[in-house]
């Protein structure tokens, strides 16, 4: 037992004081509890190892370098059945991230709209939004996923229906978009003077065209903000706000257009060929069903958070803003929302985390996320339950902690600065 080393050590220290003396008792209890906890963990680990040993199994991660031998339909990086299990896991991880990012974005948009509309003075609109929230958040998300999938499979036409003289289905938007019961095909961006791919450690390639476009776009936005700031300075000095919006829009829009022109941008349309459409971007049923179900489900919760956040801002704030002559739109964006955000952000983080974790239900519709590859097929083909589940837990932990770190940083920026 440690004795507190300090200035005011009692003149005589007896062992019994650890229990009887108020100054030490809490420390004694905490130490014992800590040791007990460590013993429990140690026991769990040794028990696991012992039982694995009894089964003749060991803990070994070398299976990650073996060829996976299975195919994955949706892959954001190069992958085939000769690639390693590790690569299969990364393909799955990227699919998880894709549906999480798409889901969080759509859920936020839908959630904010529904949340604001629920406060509407229009009785019908407010009630409709209430129905939406209650229906979506009171049915398990797994059912929503399966339901959306069943709708997509059951109602949309088969690729075969698009064929022949008397086709029963046709493509939309001037033969550019095909809705089938296997997914949606939309035109894809193609570059005739493409700059090729940038290889990252030989692991995967990043399109240089895309990087260039993003760079030009961000540079444009940066320049536009500089212009805006200068205009504000002029306003504070002279009281007149110079008209800069045409220049700012031009700064953002024109450079990417020039780049697109030089790269020879054109659209690749999907065409029915053999069994399926080919060309174009193929959004699989499984992705769409999972994305929509997760988004609409989580949006119901976000709507409630937004409503709570807005309601929590005192009515006096609105009245004060109105009395200063600020218009309702500006009142919302300049007065109410900044204050509401402080309340909205923290619970919003946990909704984003929920959505990300709920995406592990993907296998219900055959979407190959990291649970489907690493925690599904790889686990099954290699029989390494402990190792794969541990890795899987690490993956989700990593994603969740990253999401929460980013949002906490944002929360720190918008929260009330107290001095």
């Amino acid at each position: 037992m440690r004795v507190q080393e300090g200035e005011k050590a009692p003149p005589v220290f007896r062992l019994s004081m650890l229990l009887n003396d108020k100054r030490y008792r809490s420390m004694t209890i905490q130490t014992v509890a800590l040791i007990g906890f460590m013993l429990l963990i140690a026991w769990l680990i040794s028990n696991t190892l012992q039982n694995l040993n009894a089964l003749g199994k060991d803990v070994n991660f070398s299976f990650l370098n073996q060829p996976s031998s299975y195919d994955i339909n949706q892959r954001l990086i190069e992958y085939d059945s000769r690639s390693s299990h590790l690569r299969a896991s990364i393909v799955g991880l990227l699919n998880t991230l894709l549906v999480a990012v798409l889901g969080c974005t759509l859920a936020t948009i839908v959630g904010v709209v529904i949340g604001v509309l629920r406060l509407s003075k229009n009785w019908v609109v407010a009630r409709l939004m209430t129905i939406y929230v209650e229906v979506f958040r009171n049915v398990p998300v797994l059912l929503w996923i399966v339901f959306f999938m069943a709708i997509l499979i059951g109602t949309l036409p088969k690729p075969r229906d698009f064929r022949g003289e008397d086709a029963t289905a046709s493509m939309m938007f001037g033969d550019s978009v095909a809705l089938t019961n296997r997914g949606i095909y939309v035109p894809e961006p193609l570059f005739s003077n493409s700059l090729g791919n940038l290889s990252v450690f030989g692991w995967f390639g990043i399109s240089i065209d895309l990087v260039l476009l993003l760079l030009v776009l961000f540079a444009g936005i940066f320049a536009a903000r500089r212009v805006r700031r200068r205009a504000m300075r002029v306003q504070s000095e002279t009281g007149k706000l110079p008209r800069t919006w045409p220049l700012r829009i031009a700064l953002i829009v024109v450079p990417p257009l020039v780049v697109l022109y030089y790269l020879g941008f054109h659209l690749g349309y999907p065409v029915l060929k053999g069994f399926n459409f080919s060309g174009g971007v193929y959004m699989r049923n499984s992705l769409i069903a999972l994305w929509l179900a997760l988004s609409f489900y989580t949006a119901a919760f976000i709507a409630e958070i937004v409503r709570a956040g807005i309601s929590a801002v005192s009515k006096g704030q609105t009245e004060a803003a109105f009395s200063l002559g600020i218009r309702p739109g500006l009142t919302m964006s300049l007065v109410i929302l900044p204050q509401a955000l402080r309340i909205i952000i923290p619970p919003l983080i946990s909704q984003f985390l929920n959505l990300t974790k709920n995406s592990s239900l993907a296998i219900a519709v055959g979407y190959m996320d990291v649970t489907g590859t690493l925690g599904g097929i790889t686990l099954n083909q290699t029989g390494r339950e402990l190792e794969t589940i541990l890795l899987l837990m690490l993956c989700y932990l990593f994603i969740s902690l990253s999401v929460s770190a980013v949002l906490n940083w944002y929360n720190g920026r918008v929260k009330l600065k107290e001095r």
Binding site: G36, N47, G56, S81, N181, F275, I377, G383
Partner: protein
């Protein structure tokens, strides 16, 4: 003092948890029933009937096993397992035996630490497609969307087959046969691939079986059989010899109906040994002398079970083919009972 007792208690618990590997037969006898892992629903092999009672080719093997141990074919608890959950269920002891159209492979036998006790169905992977697509051969499947049960050997065979033939495909991974049917019947996939017996079973349950064709290619060997955990040879022996007993019974003409009368009347020493009127074979395996009699009386011999569930007279209409006795040109060959 308190700490010491905590350590002591923890050690005791740890030790007892570490030594939980016991003889499966004793556990089963203590429970009063066996736990058998079967398919979540594949008509003919394992599916609940109209009364909710499990029925099928694999189910009857479990019933024979239960009858051999308890004399009661109903002393079984069936656990539906998916392609993904089956091995974990067996390894963790949730089930005692797995009879779920499971292919015997090297890595499952050696690396996953299971013991396959025999082969009750010689199968091969095939493709089923919609007749209206006008496909006659699997080599015409380039670019097709293929529904496949995830966590199976068929998933790996499929990848190998298309790769070896330089064709591309779009896999649609699916958890259970029921979901596969839904997607395949709605033509969300062009092709459904699994063992040919499974294809026949799925086809039999379609609204219009004639609108579906099974392509001629067989792209793999799929020897299906029951399996148990590594490390309990007595239990594996029981599971193996119940299967063998059913096959020997067919060979010797012992049926569900005549088993009891043959017991008294037979002149064939092997039949007498099998039915327990000669020798101490029951005691050797740890069961009663008439264990094989009970197993055969439960649901009949191998041929009877086959004909009842998947044979030519059923909706699934599978021919015996490789699954005929070796004496009739098939591959079924049980070691001698002596």
């Amino acid at each position: 003092m308190r700490l010491k007792s905590l350590i002591a208690a923890t050690t005791v618990v740890g030790l007892s948890a570490g030594m939980s590997v016991a003889a499966t037969l004793d556990d089963v006898k203590a429970k009063g029933f066996i736990q058998c892992g079967v398919n979540t629903g594949l008509v003919g092999f394992a599916a609940p009937d109209a009364d909710g009672k499990w029925d099928g080719f694999d189910v009857d093997y479990c019933r024979a096993l239960a009858a051999a141990i308890f004399g009661d074919p109903d002393a079984v608890k069936f656990t539906p397992t998916t392609g993904k959950t089956r091995f974990t269920a067996l390894a963790s002891g949730e089930i005692d035996v797995l009879a779920r159209n499971t292919t015997w492979t090297f890595s499952r036998d050696v690396d996953l630490k299971f013991t396959f006790v025999g082969i009750n169905y010689y199968d091969g992977q095939g493709f089923m497609t919609h007749e209206s697509l006008g496909i006659n051969s699997a080599t015409e499947l380039d670019g097709a969307t293929v529904c496949i049960q995830t966590g199976t050997t068929t998933e790996l065979n499929l990848a190998d087959y298309f790769r070896a033939n330089g064709m591309s495909y779009e896999p649609v991974p699916i958890e259970t046969n029921a979901e596969a049917r839904e997607q395949f019947f709605a033509e969300a996939c062009d092709v459904y691939t699994t063992d040919r017996s499974g294809l026949a079973a799925t086809r039999a349950t379609a609204e219009d079986p004639n609108a579906l064709v099974v392509l001629p290619e067989i792209i793999s060997k799929e020897p299906l059989g029951p399996l148990v955990r590594h490390g309990d040879d007595q239990w594996a022996d029981i599971a193996r010899w119940v299967l063998n007993a059913l096959i020997i019974a067919e060979e010797k003409g012992i049926t569900q109906a005549n088993a009891k009368s043959m017991m008294g009347s037979t002149n064939d020493p092997e039949v007498a040994r099998l039915l327990g009127t000669e020798g101490e074979y029951g005691a050797m395996i740890g069961l009663s002398a008439d264990w094989a009699l009970h197993a055969i009386e439960a649901r009949g011999n191998y041929g009877e079970i086959f004909d009842r569930h998947i044979g030519p007279d059923t909706a699934i209409a599978l021919q015996r083919g490789e699954n005929a006795l070796y004496t009739e040109g098939g591959l079924l060959y049980a070691p001698p009972f002596r």
